[in-house]
Symmetry: C2
DNA sequence: ACCGGTCCTTGCTATATGTCAATGTAGCCG
DNA sequence: CGGCTACATTGACATATAGCAAGGACCGGT
């Protein structure tokens, strides 16, 4: 039940109480997806909106010739369908097994119109996403491979930290190298080489499905340089 | 006066009528900036929000070592300060002479809370910006110089088209080559070479402060390829 | 335990774009 | 008119990253 949901503090529903809270809960259809399942794609009409509860979703755009740009990874608490528009504008599929709260887009939009506090929260989340997107534009346009990887790792570390309530030196990387490459505008080979060079230089250790940070200071320097 | 404003259809105020319209007009402080003037920068607190009426503003982020990424060009009708947050998150300065509607952020936020239709419109604009930002991420991460330039030119052509009510084969480029480079994640030399190669190949003609499109079909193909 | 598949790593080479430097062009002001 | 300044172009060269290909590690199924 929503009442005890561990990701509530992070999601759209965080500011809701009483009537509004139960109203939204009534609209909720909990769903789960196995790894690799498609949540929706680029051109399909946006019938639903989602809040991720567990797992990781990759959001990406495809060019006609198959090149892919991952525009974001959705983690627990993240909302998919912020635009409340007719199309999503990108594809989404599950990197790991995923559980989510699903809402009909129409019902959700109606609900948002009824409770301005929800709309306000939605706008807050949208502008936060926008700020992240702009940060990513700097990364994609103006940073080299090493800086990209360092920024990516530290950003993920922070996001996991907010989700779990504590920061860990071990950073979970549930997505594969190809996903990281397609997020950072690199090739899989460059990602692999750069990570392994960082490991050789004792900045970090590569562990199954993640890395462990050894030299946070040097990594920070690379990320913000 | 707002009543006859030519950019009204494009801006936040488009859905406003009667009471709300006059309420917002009362909050408006018209301002002008000469070319190169700074509207605000990265770290300064966000005291105001703006709607651009005339001219072009560049929005950018700076890295500590001076590298610059332009995250967008604001054209007539565009809104600066969508986040209604304490900081802008980027710098803004005038490319050309600019006139704008300026509002106190606090007053504007208060106004938005009072009129949900404004908040809704703001959210709409924010998610539109987000979609553009994601499109730009694809461009920055996965396209080559030629594709970047072609996309940029056509996107600008469309934006001017919506502003002027008619599409023109002459695309105005009020920003310099360095600005284009910093927007597309290239160097000024690559922008110059690519544009001149396109001119040599009869895709376009370079004119003062702009280009004239000769082969729209080939340009389209490059832009979406 | 073995097999097959998927993902990751690593070396070699190719290339698009960056870097540096010189030259050209145009507007502006005295 | 001339010369200053900012901006744009062009060429020669350097390099980070891409592309290709071979091998290695790991995992899940039988």
């Amino acid at each position: 039940m929503c009442r005890h949901c561990e990701t509530r503090a992070l999601s759209v529903c965080s500011p809701l109480e009483g009537e509004a809270f139960y109203g939204l809960q009534r609209l909720n259809h909990p769903v789960t997806f196995p790894a690799r399942a498609v949540l929706f794609n680029q051109d399909s009409p946006a019938r639903h909106v989602y809040t991720i509860v567990h797992g990781v979703v990759r959001l990406y755009k495809l060019l006609p010739d198959g090149r892919r740009q991952i525009v974001g990874f959705a983690l627990p608490g993240d909302f998919l369908g912020l635009a409340l528009a007719d199309g999503y504008g990108f594809c989404a599929d599950a990197v790991t097994a995923v559980s989510a709260c699903r809402f009909s887009r129409d019902h959700f939009a109606e609900f948002a119109d009824q409770y301005p506090t929800v709309l306000r929260r939605l706008h807050e989340m949208a502008t936060h996403e926008l700020a992240l997107a702009q940060q990513q534009m700097v990364l994609l346009g103006r940073r080299d491979a090493e800086e990209k990887i360092a920024s990516f790792l530290l950003a993920l570390q922070q996001r996991w930290g907010r989700i779990h309530g504590k920061t860990s030196v071990t950073i979970d990387l549930p997505m594969g190298r190809q996903d990281i490459a397609d997020f950072l505008g690199l090739t899989i080979e460059t990602v692999s080489r750069t990570l392994n060079r960082m490991a050789r230089d004792r900045l970090l250790v590569i562990v199954p499905d993640g890395v462990r940070v050894l030299d946070a200071a040097k990594l920070d320097k690379l990320a913000s340089a």
